[in-house]
Amino acid sequence: MNWYGIKAIYIHEMERFRRTLFQSLASPIITTSLYFVVFGSAIGSRITEIDGINYGSYIVPGMIMLTILTQSISNASFAFYFPRFTNTIYEILAAPLSSFEIVLGFVGAAASKSLIIGCVIILTANFFVDVRIDHPLLMMFFLILTSITFALFGFIIGMYAEGFEGLQIIPILIITPLVFLGGSFYSINMLPEFWQKISLLNPVLYLISGFRYSFYEVSDVSLLTSTLTILTILIGCIIFIIYTFSKGYRIKD
């Protein structure tokens, strides 16, 4: 293993995060605060509790998941697309690094950034509502696994994107709607039966549900199903990346 190479990519990416620390942290903090103002105060005054949990507290796991998903994707996709755009990718391709080591460096850094932001959101949420974490280890397991999985997904986007617009299409058009419709701000039990069944087709529902269970021991689907869903997405991303790399991952054409 080229540990120095992996470390170089990781530190390099984290250094970019440090340089833009204010933007990186200010945006999720402001967004979270706005969600609490809009959903917590405005809607929360009408929906006081869901499954015995105060509405403001109930939406915290969903908000964290929304941020983790979008941040993991955008961090990883940008991190890999940027050197392609500036042509500095030549150095990574010419280095004695395996595909796995390249992915480890980029995805590790993107997932780390998301984890930091996730923790910042939990702290921010504490200023607005009481946040209880019944299973901290399970919460960390979901947080880390989701960050890695969606950083891998972002890496794929970074490999395939043909421009900066391409980096935004999937997060905006697919991920954000899936998160909003995946029970971030409500329980699917509140929906009519037909829409409950439709919601079960949304993979993000399982992530949010499992994550919420680690906080309050309430969930829309079983913990096992949630865990299997996230693992399936993770394996799917890994297989796709291996396939793309084996074909020369477009960049080496």
Partner: protein, 314 residues
């Protein structure tokens, strides 16, 4: 001297079926400076990028230090460095971070003393804390060289190292290249500045349309393919070339005072003694004699022209 690089029957097609390299065979000896010449789009950069692992080639084998670059990519890439043609750098990073990053990528543990020495050698030490965007084009080019040398490679590829740099900086770069070679680094450079190849290289290859059309020692190449012109300036103008001189392919200049004859250095006899005797026999008085040898550039243009004509015929 042993070969540090062996390229056998390498072919590369791009996705749009454009043939970039066709059956390229080339051996590079350890310790030499090798120039790869060719017009734009000839396949120079594709060949270098294939060797360095930046693009995949379709068929053939490439060996560095007798090791296959695909099977043994870790070992072969550790001793290889590349300076790209474009100024591809992270604009917001400092020189110091950029160079250390490159060393890390190539699996070497940090060595601040070495990087300091390297930056001093390349006159970059006082710029080490500057961001890349604050540097001039020449400085950026030096940073690229520093990055390529950060892991102490034995084989260095310079892809158009002096493209769009001024004359003074070009000479500076040449000094850097010569110094590196003296320190034991084998250098392969692509260029379309013939004077660069003439100044630096031990051997030269000419590539055109993805094929290597010639490989030879620079001096031998000039001798083998080079033509020489003898210009004889006479005291009195002449109206036309006749008498003994008519058997030579003399041309007369506009002043009618200078007669020129071109001959190939490769022929067994140049007949210069006889030619001068004939000038004397015809009663001309010689004021001055001057000879001019064809440059690598003229040879290069001639070769490419011949190759292109052959391609059209086929």
């Amino acid at each position: 001297m042993k070969n540090i690089l062996e390229i056998n029957n390498v072919t590369k097609f791009y996705k749009n079926s454009v043939k970039a390299l066709e059956n390229v065979n080339l051996n590079i000896k350890e310790g030499e400076i090798f120039a790869l010449l060719g017009p734009n789009g000839a396949g120079k950069s594709t060949l270098i990028n294939s060797i360095c692992g930046i693009v995949n080639f379709n068929t053939g084998t490439i060996k560095i230090n007798n090791m296959d670059i695909v099977k043994n990519y870790r070992t072969t890439r550790k001793i290889t460095g590349i300076v790209p043609q474009e100024l591809n750098l992270e604009s917001f990073e400092t020189v110091w971070n950029n160079v250390n990053y490159s060393r890390g990528l190539f699996g070497k543990k940090p060595d601040h003393n070495y990087i300091e020495k390297l930056l001093k050698q390349l006159s970059l030490w006082d710029k080490k804390d500057n961001k890349i965007k604050e540097l001039s084009g020449g400085m950026k080019r030096r940073v690229l060289i520093a990055k390529a040398l950060s892991h102490q490679p034995k084989l260095l590829f310079l892809d158009e190292p002096t493209a769009s740099v001024d004359v003074e900086l070009r000479k500076d770069m040449w000094d850097v290249v010569k110094k590196l070679n003296e320190d034991g680094v084998t250098i392969i450079l692509t260029t379309h500045y013939i004077e660069e190849a003439e100044e630096l290289s031990d051997r030269v290859a000419v590539i055109n349309d993805g094929k290597i059309i010639l490989v030879d020692e620079k001096d031998k190449l000039i001798k083998k393919l080079g033509e020489k012109t003898i210009k004889i300036e006479l005291f009195e103008p002449i109206e036309k070339i006749n008498g003994n001189l008519s058997k030579y392919n003399f041309t007369l200049d506009q002043t009618n005072k200078i007669i020129s004859h071109t001959y190939n250095l490769n022929s067994n006899t140049t007949d210069i003694t006889e030619l001068l005797n004939d000038v004397k026999k015809d009663g001309y008085e010689i004021k001055d004699i001057n000879t001019e040898q064809s440059s690598l550039e003229e040879i290069f243009i001639k070769l490419i022209k011949e190759n292109n004509n052959e391609l059209v015929r086929n």
